[in-house]
């Protein structure tokens, strides 16, 4: 039995702290979501979409929603060490905005503020977009996030504005995160011809065993362009559930680079709906699992209209007894003629006990389309290993170099050098751990 009544009690307590907010439209969303959670509960492996990912370790536990901002002694340089130096940085500790660690220098007409603030200052936009794109697809986890919806990033870039500097979001779990559920909620809206880069970091500073349950909604206007990078490097005792929904308008470009490097049990659901013509969607992903980690990536690309292109490459490196899951759905609707969709899933298994369940799922209802998919699962190429060794490179080093190169290819898609550097550091670190494990 999952912990529905536990979360209902927590919700009642949360409601009592809200005062005036309890009458707001956002609170109506919360109440509906709590009702939904009570109805559907958490997914089980009987659900087709969760067949390979048993979330009982989460649904059996009673995490306490992180409602109060924690007192934290984290410093700016500690944050920088965990992530990257950045001009525009939002830091959230256990899901709560920490203004003293944040700095934002975006152009004047850009709204980049915490969602907690935006809920009162930017009500119209919030009401128009919040919880819209996820509607109808909510699992128990999304409902849990909405029920306790409080803080996150609100970014609104008006028409024609291009932000060159990346906006770096740091979700850090500190010591007081143990046994809590941290629930960031982000809303990113780019109007016509707007452009931005957003980087999400999920990191831990002695966070221990906690649950991150994040929901991010992205709305792209006509010809808008977003690079959306996510670096998940949570504590190895933490759980990470994340849902990202992207709604694309005509000729918009969405590029996602998704790195799952930490966490004990991880699930990413990433959906992009190309709702108008000539959109582009690129999804790159890398999972790196060691020990007993389980990393599950579920992606959905919905070609609803003609002449849209999508490219997807998801890679995984799995060592120890780590498990990977990849499910890549591509829908090509009846209308979506001249669709060009390419999906690739490549997995490198570094041990006999590591496993991957991979499932490309293409559902094509239009007839004039180009859709390809391919999945490979294998070990390192022994000819390559021998070539390196025959030049004097030790066997372990040769394997590390080849494994790193396999992973690093995904890093190459990130346009921000500092993020690439940090990713390479983390990958080296994790591969070293993987070899020991």
């Amino acid at each position: 039995m999952d912990q529905r009544s536990h979360y209902q009690e927590q919700f009642n307590a949360f409601e009592r702290t809200l005062n005036g907010d309890a009458a707001s439209p956002v609170h109506a969303l919360r109440r509906t979501a709590m009702g939904h959670l009570q109805q559907v509960g958490f997914p089980t492996s009987a659900d087709e979409e969760w067949r390979f990912t048993n979330v009982q370790p989460i649904s059996n536990r009673s995490f306490t929603p992180s409602i109060q901002p924690p007192a934290s002694s984290l410093t700016s340089s500690e944050i920088e060490k965990l992530t990257v130096p950045a001009q525009d940085r939002f830091v959230f500790i256990n899901g709560h905005y920490a203004p003293w660690l944040s700095s934002v220098k975006v152009p004047n007409n850009v709204r980049a503020i915490s969602l907690a603030e935006a809920r009162s200052t930017d009500r119209q936009m919030i009401e128009r977009h919040l919880a819209h794109s996820v509607k109808g697809t909510e699992t128990g986890f999304t409902a849990l996030n909405t029920a306790f919806l409080f803080d996150g990033l609100y970014l609104h870039v008006p028409s024609g504005v291009e932000i060159a500097e990346p906006i770096v979001l740091v979700y850090v779990a500190d010591r007081s995160a143990a046994e809590t559920v941290i629930q960031p909620r982000n809303l990113i809206v780019l109007e016509e011809r707007a452009a931005a880069k957003v980087v999400e970091f999920y990191v831990s500073n002695d966070g221990g065993s906690y649950l991150t349950n994040a929901v991010t909604e992205v709305v792209l206007g006509k010809r808008a362009r977003l690079e959306h990078d996510k670096v998940q490097f949570e504590s190895l005792s933490a759980f990470h559930m994340a849902v990202t929904h992207v709604a694309q308008s005509k000729e918009s470009v969405y590029r996602s680079n998704n790195f799952a490097l930490g966490g004990k049990l991880v699930r990413n659901e990433l959906t992009s709906a190309m709702n108008d013509e000539r959109c582009e969607c690129t999804l790159n992903g890398l999972s790196l699992g060691t020990g007993e980690q389980l990393i599950d990536n579920h992606t959905t690309i919905d070609h609803a209209k003609p002449n849209c292109n999508s490219w997807e490459v998801y890679k995984a490196v799995l060592a120890g007894r780590a498990r990977g899951v990849f499910n890549g759905k591509i829908f090509v609707r009846k209308d979506a003629q001249k669709t060009d969709a390419k999906q690739t899933n490549k997995t490198l298994l570094l041990s006999d006990e590591a496993t991957i369940d991979t499932k490309p799922q293409l559902e094509i209802f239009a007839d004039d389309v180009k859709c390809t998919h391919g999945a490979t699962v294998g070990q390192l190429d022994e000819q390559q290993v021998f070539y390196l060794r025959s030049r004097g490179i030790g066997a372990d080093d040769a394997r590390d170099i080849l494994t790193f190169a396999f992973a690093d290819e995904v890093v190459g898609h990130v346009s921000i050098e500092a993020v690439r550097d940090r990713l390479e550091q983390i990958i080296h670190l994790r591969l070293d751990e993987g070899r020991v494990a």
Binding site: Y387, L388, S390, R391, G392, I393, G394, A398, I401, A405
Partner: protein
Amino acid sequence: MLEIKNLHASINGNEILRGVNLKVSAGEVHAIMGPNGSGKSTLASILAGREVYDVTDGQVLYNGQDLLEMDPEERAREGVFLAFQYPVEIPGVTNSYFLKTALNSIRKHRGLEELDAVDFLKMVRERMKLVEMEESFLNRPVNEGFSGGEKKRNEIFHMAVLEPKLALLDETDSGLDIDALRIVADGVNKLRRKENATVVVTHYQRLLNYIVPDFVHVLVDGRIVRSGGKELALHLEDKGYELMREGSETTARRG
């Protein structure tokens, strides 16, 4: 430097080498010639440490050490180098990173200080000229997208940087046009030292016009059936390998 005694080797139960004997001393260039399937490349691969072959009998001594007991990387660090017949593509690893790692592994083994990025670059720039390679090759992934000729030049470039004592060139001439052949051969010749040895494995005599051997050995059906000076290669060019096969028994008896 190298002494091969009665070497027998097989792959998947098929015997490919049936008692090879060969002695190579410092300063010498040896050519091993033979028809396809005679075991030339197998011999080169075994010397470099490829693990897919089973050595069933015999011994290989390299500077007095049991070569077959050494890991491939150990052999390389002790100065053995194989220029591959089919150089392997390594996507995602640049030529420069690959070579720097290799060179420093070898230097470390020899008790030398590791080269930093600046000194390394200075050195490789100079060595690239030996095989007329452009600097852009340094930042390209190893052999990925290289033409056949570029791959072979890259092998000799690796050799120029790693400065082996014993270089094994496996069909380095295959797939090269005459210009590329000249460049590759020139590179090898410039790297000849009296303290080093070179073993050239080839099917054709052509390469030996450029890299002139001191000794030529004819390998047929896994055995060296005849050895001689450079004129043996010319003789082969005229008469072909069939003659050698017929003559193999007399040679073996004589040997």
